[in-house]
Symmetry: C2
Subunit: 318 residues, 2 copies
């Protein structure tokens, strides 16, 4: 089956990445479209399908198993994108129907966090697992939940929005309009926010992060500073790890998974995040789950994870 192929499409607000993926998880060819330039969904999908044909011709592949699409607000049940705020074509876009007017293979749509979990299951470190959770730290915090070997969609298709579970009641204001959501603390954006808060509280701090203009400061700077031994940056990651550890312990009390996988930019900071995270997780985990959960970093390469997750969705159709 290593000569069977799927297409993975990762729709972002800026770019749409399209990859031809071999069954062993190798992205053999890829292309990109500028999502932001499209205001009409029909044209956008037609161009995606042209790119798919180009990739197939380029690699002399004449048959694909299906197309998986990871999209903001992508709905597994309907195959539509529902009112995504960062795309120019508003309302409900029936991706499944539009794709089928060009290419006659199964099309599976979901959101990016769910796709990442499925990528880990089909191509990554969760291959033998039937019960695990992924947390993706990015602009927000995405999560995907696999139970009984299947991605959990729930009644609405939006199960697994752990970034919007409330960690601190009455806490930081979230983009969703509520307060205290996990993603206001543990996302890349949350890390930046924690750093800025601490820097404001510590006027005497004169370390590396003061050299970065406030509007430029990102979680990457905080990670680099922490790894260079900057005390304030280390404190930021200690706080982030503590918050994330509580959220992960709470997730375990729900589904008692075999493992939790972490992915996304801030995870590359490494032990400055992972050490306090594990300590917090162990401290906050209810004793009935002691030693039952493996905390792991995703095994999928950063560059491929979005396309692989999307391509993995094709396996949901079979």
């Amino acid at each position: 089956m290593t000569n069977s192929y799927s297409i993975g499409i990762d729709i972002g607000g800026t770019n749409t990445d399209i990859g031809l993926v071999r069954a062993d998880g190798c992205v053999v060819a890829r292309n990109t479209l500028p999502t932001g330039k499209y205001y009409v969904a029909d044209l956008y999908v037609a161009d995606i399908c042209d790119k798919i044909r180009e990739l197939m011709a380029e690699m002399h592949v004449d048959k694909i198993e299906g197309i998986g699409v990871a999209a903001p607000m992508g709905n597994y049940y309907t195959g539509c994108i529902d009112n995504a705020t960062n795309l120019n074509f508003r309302g409900i876009t029936d991706l499944n129907a539009l794709m089928h007017s060009h290419i006659d293979v199964p099309v599976v749509v979901s959101n990016d966090a769910n796709a990442s979990a499925y990528g880990e299951l089909i191509y990554g470190g969760a291959k033998q697992m039937s019960n695990f959770i992924t947390f993706t730290l990015g602009t927000g915090v995405g999560s995907g939940i696999v139970i009984g070997g299947k991605l959990l969609h729930g009644k609405t298709g939006n199960a697994g929005e752990l970034g919007h579970a409330i960690l601190i009641p009455g806490g930081r204001l979230c983009g969703c309009g509520r307060k205290g959501c996990l993603e206001t603390y543990a996302s890349a954006t949350g890390i930046r926010r924690t750093a800025l808060e601490l820097m404001e509280k510590r006027p005497e701090y004169n370390g590396m992060l003061r050299d970065v203009p406030v509007d430029v400061l990102r979680s990457k700077h905080v990670g680099d500073a922490a790894n260079a031994g900057d005390e304030l940056a280390l404190e930021v990651f200690a706080m982030t790890g503590n918050w994330l550890g509580i959220a992960m312990a709470n997730a375990v009390a729900f589904s008692s998974p075999e493992a939790i996988f972490l992915m996304g930019g801030p995870v590359h900071a490494g032990e400055v995040l992972l050490k306090p995270l594990r300590e917090s997780f162990n401290k906050h985990l209810c004793f009935v789950y002691d030693n039952s959960v493996d905390i792991r970093v995703s095994e999928l390469p950063d560059n491929d994870v979005a396309i692989l997750g999307a391509a993995a969705l094709v396996h949901l159709a079979s």
Copy 2:
């Protein structure tokens, strides 16, 4: 199939209730053993099996589909009770094996909260549902999670311990040794605690709850006072409803259920709890789940819920 029968056994620290349950959810006969008087598991189980035979003879039932046991720390995977702190026979009690040495029918063991969820599925208001959650408010807060029509057990068999999800990081000390667990706020014990805290903060309060000696005060008194219009008691339930609403909104962000069922003593306080609970739930629910979740009170009669939940477990075996 209304002439098919199961046995439901609810093991509590004080009493063990045994019921003969008809397929339509009618408990046709029941009996009780004093759990606390047994220090040897073999004798305890032998006496339970004698009682089962008595019930069957009494009702002229010569065949049962199986035996369901709801026990503290009951483990679905092993059929054992694992180190329950409120039973005299410590360590691991292999209920499944002990039962089978007396009666040759399927035996299914789980904990009481999981059993309640299954009771709601088989005999109660969740009959047509495949995805729902139950919260049982008692000494602690128990929960059971059904996904895809099946009870969620997870890797350890202990999935669905939402009473031990941390609601307020660093909050009230819990019996499990951690801080801020939901059950320290939303259980019957938590309600008592909230009332005592408020009464201490309000020395000027001179209402109904002052007439109840502190060591006698229970959530039932608070419920009665709230329903009689006592302002402090109403405030206690407003706080309890607020906390429980957040926890329920967080649970929805996990599995996106069709419904959440509430059961247990404090729920009988009625609207003084349910109104602030619904308000908090709607306020704290992430917008993607708006209007997708039905908040309901269990339809199972209080007197039968434990036996029905246990008997329902038999359907897990088939």
